[in-house]
Structures are given as C-alpha cells and as structure tokens.
C-alpha cells in the first residue's frame, strides 16, 4: 500500500472513530425512587407541639420614642404627611416577586409541621427541600443574605470563598451561618434522623432569614425604592395589618402579641413613608429620616423575634426538639442583646448553651427583659 492509500485509509478510520467518540451524549439523570427512610423516631421531644404553650403576651404600656412614625394616628407624630398616613401599605410595583418566596416558606411550614406535633417524613423533607431550592427561591436569597447590622466586609459575601465567609460570618449570616444549618437539617431530615429537631432548625433558620431580609430590604430601599415592597412582603406576605389570616413572620408575631405586630407594621409604614418623602423615583438622600424609620422597624422586629424565640424556649422544656431552633434564633438576638445589656447578653448566650430544661426558661425570661414592648 502506498503512502496515499495509507493516508486515505487513516483519514477515513480517524474520521469514523472521532465521529463516534465525539458524538456521545451524556446519559440523562436517572430519577431516584421515592425517598423512604420512614418517619424515624422523631427524635427528642417527638410527637409534641411547640405551639402548645403558645399564649398571647399581655403587653404593658409601651413607651415609644417621640420621633416614631405612628400611622395609626398620623396627626400625633412629627413626620411630614406621606403616602403611608392612610395606615395601609402602598406598593411601588404591582408585582412583588418576594411573595413567591413567602409562599414557599408557607408550604415548607405546612409540610414540616412547624410548631405542631407532626413528625415529618423523609419525603416531607425532600419536598420541602425542593421548594427551598426552586430557581430564584429561598435558597438563592439565603445564599446572598448579609446582616446589615454589621459593617460591610471588604467584598460582597457572595463573592467570598469558604475561608473568607468564616472570617466575616456575622456579616455574611446567610451563606456562613444559615445555609449550612439548612443544608444539614434537610440532609438529616431526608435521612430520617431526628426529624422534629431538623424541622425546628429549618423553621428557626427560615424565620431568621425572614428577619434579616426585612431589615436588609429596609436598608437597600435607599437605592431601590421597590425593595420596600420586598420588606413588606417578607414580613406580612403582602397582607394588610388587620388581615384575618396572617402569614410569614407576621403569623408568628401576631399569634403572640397583636401590639408588637402592630408596631412592626408601624415600622414598615415608617420606611414606606420615608421613601415616599425622599426622592421616591431615585436614590434616597435623607439619611437621618431613613435611620429613624429603620431603627423603629428593627426595634419592633427584634421584639417580635424575641417573643417567638421566648415562646419556643418555654416550650422546649416539654418539647425538647424545639430547643435547636431556639439556639438558632437566640444567636441572632444575642448581638442586639449584648449591645443593650452586656451582662444579660452574656447570660443569654450562656443559657443557650445549656439543656432545654435548664436553659429554656432562662432564655425566655432574658429575652422578654432585654426586648421590651417596642
């Protein structure tokens, strides 16, 4: 065979071989069978309801700062007239995408039976994780959530490596603290390991995410006015303050203290009022009014979150699975607790490290003291 023939044969073989090699498409993923690790033993405190000890708090007379916005009686505050004086939230936009994430939270709450005696099954956890993982869903927002109470890190948390996240874990609360808890709780829940404990951890992490998100949106509303809508949606699910059926964080707070819920709503409207007064179609510049509104809102939110945590702490004595959730939420509140009263803040952290029987009542007492009626 001459050189030409060799080259021709080699070309044909090479082409054929390469086409075959290059033509292979990867096989499709094979859906796994239904996850069925059973309901497990429920773990510590299984078959108990953390909501069983839920009793409305009797609020005393609240002393409010004079510069608070009071939309329920707008003539009595020192704020200029604004759109929120109607005592109703007026959205900037007709569609608020944050409502979709609130809806996902509600579905997860139902699936995992937050606060109830339900022992969620492996499949409940898997379905909940699917909801959590939806495109543009809660996971996407947990992964980017920063705690605006802390100074900004040298770069955005979403751009950080794992090691950098550890360094800035307080600021990078979503990716550094909440996301690992949620990942771990979903995996263990799907694996049938102490499902009620995992449900409590997921509940607490998502409530913390809602709290951080409301505060963050009230901050970033300076640049994007429509973030006010997200703030409002994440607390109330986009519902009026007097809604018969509350959802999201409002559900928890309203069940414990109507007045705290009203004060949070006042805070939401304070932010909305500020944004109405401060260049609503562009970037806001009135930093002092912004700070007033934000401070009012956060004070009320912290009280609400403290009440929720205190209630779960009290329940932990008889329903120990709730305790892991208390630890998550208690750590969120510890920052502000230490700022307000260093000794009590330290006591709170110490109590969180104890067993639910011992630490639960102590945590509940401290939280009510540190975070009084807003």
């Amino acid at each position: 065979m001459n050189v030409t023939a060799h080259a021709r044969a080699l070309s044909l073989r090479t082409a054929l071989g390469l086409v075959i090699l290059a033509g292979c498409e990867a096989s499709d993923p094979t859906p796994t069978a239904r996850v069925d690790a059973g309901a497990g033993d429920g773990g510590a405190g299984a078959n108990c309801s953390a909501d069983s000890t839920l009793r409305p708090v009797v609020e005393g007379t609240c002393t409010r700062p004079a510069d608070d916005y009071t939309p329920r009686s707008p003539s009595s505050d020192a704020w200029p007239a604004c759109i929120a004086d109607s005592n109703a939230y007026a959205p900037f936009e007709a569609s608020i995408s944050a409502l979709s994430r609130v809806a996902a939270f509600e579905e997860i709450r139902s699936l995992l039976g937050f606060g109830s005696a339900k022992v969620p099954s492996s499949d409940d956890f898997l379905q909940a994780r699917v909801l959590y993982s939806q495109d543009q869903g809660i996971e996407s927002r947990v992964s980017r959530r920063e705690d605006e109470h802390y100074a900004a890190a040298p770069k955005l948390c979403r751009d950080m490596s794992e090691a950098e996240l550890v360094t800035y874990r307080e600021r990078c609360v979503g990716p550094a603290i909440l996301r690992p808890i949620l990942n771990d709780a979903f995996v263990k829940g799907i694996g049938g390991e102490t499902p009620t404990v995992q449900a409590a951890r997921i509940e607490a992490s998502l409530l913390a995410w809602l709290y951080f998100s409301v505060f963050k949106e009230s901050t970033s509303a300076r640049d994007a006015a429509k973030d006010c809508d997200s703030m409002w949606a994440k607390y109330s699910g986009g519902r009026p303050r007097e809604s018969a059926e509350h959802v999201s964080l409002a559900r928890y707070v309203h069940a414990l203290s109507v007045e705290t819920h009203e004060r949070i709503y006042d805070g939401l409207l304070a932010v909305r009022c500020w944004r109405d007064l401060d260049n609503p179609t562009g970037v806001a510049t009135n930093t002092s009014l912004h700070l007033r509104a934000r401070t009012q809102l956060d004070r009320a939110l912290l009280r609400g979150l403290a009440l929720v945590t205190a209630q779960r702490a009290e329940a932990s004595a008889g329903c120990s699975s709730a305790w892991e959730g208390v630890r998550v939420l208690g750590a969120v509140l510890a920052r502000e607790a230490k700022e307000r009263d260093a000794a009590k803040g330290a006591a709170l952290e110490a109590a969180l490290a104890r067993t639910p029987e011992v630490g639960g009542p102590e945590v509940a007492r401290l939280l009510v003291e540190i975070f009084p009626c807003p």
Partner: protein, 735 residues
Amino acid sequence: MTSSAAIGLVAGVASADTLAADPATARPPAETNAPARLEADLDPEDVTARGGIVGQATSTVTARDMQERLARSTPEALRYEPGVFIQQSAHGQASAYVRGRTGQQTVLLFDGIRLNNASWRQGPNQYLFTVDPRTIGAIEVFRGGASTRFGSDAIGGAIAMTPLEPQEREAGERGAHPRAFGRYGSADDEWSLRVQNDFTLGSNGSALVGFSTRRVGLLRSGGPVFGDGGAPVLVPAFADDGRTQLGTGFGEVTADGRAVFRFGEDARIVAAAYVHRLFDVPRTDQCPAPYAPRSECLRVDEQFRTLAYVAYEDRLGALANRTRAVFSYQRQHERRTLRRPASAIENTGRDAVDTLGASWEATSEAFRLAPRAALTLKHGAEGYFDTLASRSWLAFTDIDVVRELSRGQYVEGSRYLQSGAFAEATLTRGDVALIAGARLGFVAASAPRDASSGTERVDASWWPTAAHATLRWRPAPEWTLLANVDRSFRAPNLDDLTARQQSGPGFLFENANLRPETTLGAEIGVRFEEGPHRAELWAFRSRTRDAIARSYRELGDCPPSTPACTASWSRYQLVNLLGDSTLDGLEASVQAAPWSWLRVRANVSFAYGDGPNPQPAPVLGGSDYAATVPLSRVPPLNGTIELRMAPTRASYASAGLRWATAQTRLAPTDYSDARIPLGGTPGFVVADVRAGVRIDRSAAVFGAIENVGDVAYRTHGSSINGAGRSLVIGFEFGW
C-alpha cells in the same frame, strides 16, 4: 465557455492576491456552481451564486478573509462586514445581528441547508457558533428580507455558508494532501489544532476529512465597562485582577467529512457530515447570575450539532439547468446545568431537536428573448420537520437524589414543520433587470398539553406568503442602481409557543396564541465598481406587522406551577405588537486599491428601530408612558476600516479598526437586562494589526495583535467584554 473554464476564470480572480495556499479548498460560492452555458452578454450576477439573491445588499467573507482575520468563530469572521454586528452572550456563543435583527429573525444556511429550527429563541442565540469556521470556504451575508428564497425567519437577512470542497485533481496528480492548522490566542489561552486530508476516492470522487480540537480558557478583557455615572455592570464577574472574566472558556471537538462523486460532465453527488461538539460552555451572564454567589454557574455541558446530508446536482433540461436536491438530517442537542454547589443543588435541562429536511432548487438556462434580453427562472421547494425532546431535573448532590420536573424548557414530543415553494424570474434587457419572485409557505406547530405545568396544547398552522421585486439599472458600466421591495415573514416557532426560560431581562414564558410576523421592506442602493475599486450605499426601511416582542407581565399572569416565574424580579411573555414596528438604516462600504499592494476597506452601518410599546397605556394615563419605544438591542452606529498591504504574493500586513458609538436607545426590557450597562452600552474604538507570511506552498504563519489599545469594551447586548490586548498566532502546514 466550459464549466472548468468558468471556474478557472473566477478562481483566478479570487486568488490573484490571496495568501491562501489551496484555492480549491477556499473557493467562494460563486464559482462552486458557475453555469456551463453562461451567456457572454448576460450579467454573471444574475446566474451565479447558489442560493444567492440577485440585486440584494450582500457581502462575502472568503476563506482568506477568515484566515487573515484569525477569527475565533464563524460569527467573529463577520465582524468586518457591513450591516453586521456581533453580540456574545457567552465566550462560546455569539450571534450576528444583520440590519438590527438576529437569532430567529435571520436564517442560517450551510451548503444551502437551513440550520434554523423550532427551538431557536428570541434574540441572540449560539447556533452560528456551532459551525466550525475551518470547514467553511466562504460566507455570504444577505442583508434585508429574504423569505422568498429562504422561507420563514429571513426577515432580517440570511447568512449562507459554503463549505470547503475537496480538491479536484488532474490525472497523475498526487492523491492525498494532508494539512494541519494550529492557533494560539493569549487572551484566553486558546490552543486549537485542525488536521485534514484531501484525497481522491476512486476515479471520479474526492473527499475532504477533518478533525479539530480546541481548548479555551478564561478570557482576559481590557477591563470592566461602566454605565451612567460610573455604575458597574452586573455581568460578567471578574477575577481579582479586574480583567479576567469568570464564566468564560470552553472545549470544542469537531469532525467533518465530505465526499464528492462526479458523473459525467454535469452531475455530482455530495455526501457530507459535520459534527460539532462544544463542552463546558458557561453562560457568562449566569455564571454567576447577578447577585448570586460566585460559586454558582449555569453551564452548557454539551452543545452538540450534527448535520449529515446527501445532495444531488445535475442539469435536467432547460428549466432545470442547474438542479440541486438535498436530503438532510440534523440533531441539535443541548444539556445545561445550573450548579449551586454551596447548597448541593443542580438543575439540569436537556433539549434535543431532530430535523429531517428535503429541498429541491433549480435554475433554468437563460432563455434569450431578444438580442440583449433574457429570462432566467429559479424555483424550488423545501420542508424541514422538527421533533423536539425536552426534559429537566433537580438533583441534590449531597444525598444523590434526583427528581424529574414536570416539563423541560420546551414540551416533550412537540413537532414543527417549516415548508414552502417559491418561483423567481430574472428578466434582463440591456442595462435593466427585473427580478421578481414569490413564495407560498406552510408552517405547522404542535405540542401536547401538560396539565401539571399548566401548559396549553398547541395545534397551529399558517400559510404565510412572501414576495419580492428588484429593479436594477446600470446607467454606466461602473454604476449600478438597485431598488428592492420585499415581503418576508417569520412564523412563531416552538420556542415562542411553548418555552419557559430565564432570559437576560427576566423570566420569559410562552404564548400559544401568537401569529406570524410579517415584514414589508424597501431598499435602494447604488454600487460603483471599477477594477478593484468598489463602493456601495444602501438605505432601507422595513415595517413589521404583528411583530413578536416581549411584554412585561405581572405575577398573576405566570403560568401555574412555575415558581421560577413568580420568583423572578421581571417576567415577560411574547406578544404580537398592535401596530407596526419599523427599522430604518443606512449602510455604506468602500473598497479601494490605489496600488496593487495596498487595499483599503471601510464600512459604516446604522439602524434605527421603533415599535409600539408592548405595554398597554395605563388606564389613568401616565406622564412617562411612551406609545412608541425603541426596539430591543438594535446595534448602534458602527463601522470598520481595514488596511491591507501585500508587498509580495507571499506576505501581507494589515490593520483593522472596529468602532461603535454608544447605544442609549433602550427598549423597556433592556432596562432590566443585566448585560446592558445603566443608561446604555458605551461606544468603543478597537484596533487590530495582523501579518502573515507563506514560507512555501506547504507552510504559512499568521499573527495578530488584537485590541492594540487594550480597550475595555463590549458590543451592545453582550454578556462579555471583548478581548484585551493579546496575541494570536496561527500556522498552516501540509504537503
């Protein structure tokens, strides 16, 4: 004049100043099917290019152009063409705007075979990138409506690629010509290699077989670009050096084989297969998406194209003096995965379109009607039938759980037929020619209902029509005046009717009730040609009725069970606009060769698009509501200048300048598109210099310094910035 003589004449002209070693593998389309009985007193333009359109604004990129421009991809090879503007959604994706339109509003043809299929989405797409430029002998760009010839989608124009042909050999000539091509690019650490062999097959056949591989790394730009007030652009994400763009790089493998058998003097059969495989192509604007963690990335794991066909060409009498029948099979396969490693989540989607095609086209001989008058007829028909498979999955990688979702981006089992027949006559009398043609099309779409995702059943068909008329007058041998009127159409495809996807501006969902969009276009042109000098000026206007555009939607409009829709910041649905949208423009190009060793080429293009606001006017009115808004992503005023010096036939040096002004005319959807800087895309001026030398017939070396000024720039609508100052080296070696 014989066929071979005609070919020789054209090839001789083409290669007079060419550095390309092998004219037979770089023949422009005009020569490929040059008619045997070309009438000496007829205009060659009337009877030449396969699939060409007589009298329309056209430009051609030759193999030599591509070799000297050292283009990374087929779309990039068009960067210096008038009326063409290249947008890149990713490093491994690029889309050519022709007269302000791209993607599904232009037609791509490879050897006359339609590449468009029913899954091509609105706006830029990646599919021109999936044609290996090293398999192309020439690219013709037809600007303006061309549905009469090419059917649905050709409302902006058509890009027709002619493949490399195996070399015809004289008796006794060596039967095999292996050749290797290599390339290195420093901007993205690109290494590529193509090996091919051109050889005889028996006594009447020849073949060209090639294989290439390419590995491309992260692309270094000149730096970030900024919007109004210095606002940073959300995409792409940069590495710590502020220049290297994350979400770039890819791998590529291609293989191709083309065999040509000749029977008698006129007939030939072509059997060809082209396999193009792209791997690990990040979608730059989603890698990461705006605001997402840096570890997240939407990556096209597999972007595969397979094209195989058999073509029969012959002379079958006076009415079919040149006839071509083609049977083709194509498969477009795409697997993409959004990886969110920090949460152990992977969203995978897989879409595949299988297309069976058949086409037939014939050109009559020139019937002499009078001493200086003749009539030529062209006629043809084609049908392309698509079947679409589409699935998607959600996986949790930490627990090895995979869930299949109720539907993919499209609906599994959808079908689409694009078909039609056309006839065209060219009547010449003296210096005047009238070309007129018409098409009757039939397009049908079907998709099953999917109750779980709230997807409506689609069962639609249309009988769209197209027509065109061209008047050409040559008042003097050097001058040609042209006037065209054209009606073209684009029928909604399965992407329009069924797809749900995250697009640049937000979540886009289907509209099963769309109607075809039709464009009535008019253009006038003047052309000057004298020896190597050539100049053209075109003015065009196109008016589109029922234009398909994105309209903002509220949460309540989202289809059921589609959380990605309700969770997205912005949601859009395609709608037929009420009222006409218009695209007006000017194109000018000049080529001059004051000396035989110097050639200058320059062009300027401008398009201005307006259309009805897709959003209805507010019931109570609004001070900022505009009834007419700019069309989305229409390129800004742009142009190029190329200066080429060839002191010897074996060497050249050239310099190129690409420029564009800022584009601040934005459509409503552009404002939520993270790829477009706040207020619009800044203008740029980028210079390239190139040089090459052929050592002998078997070896050549080419080089270029791209973006000499290291300018930070991006073309309007792109996700990535252009390469920074970088070196490109290419070589060719064979025997």
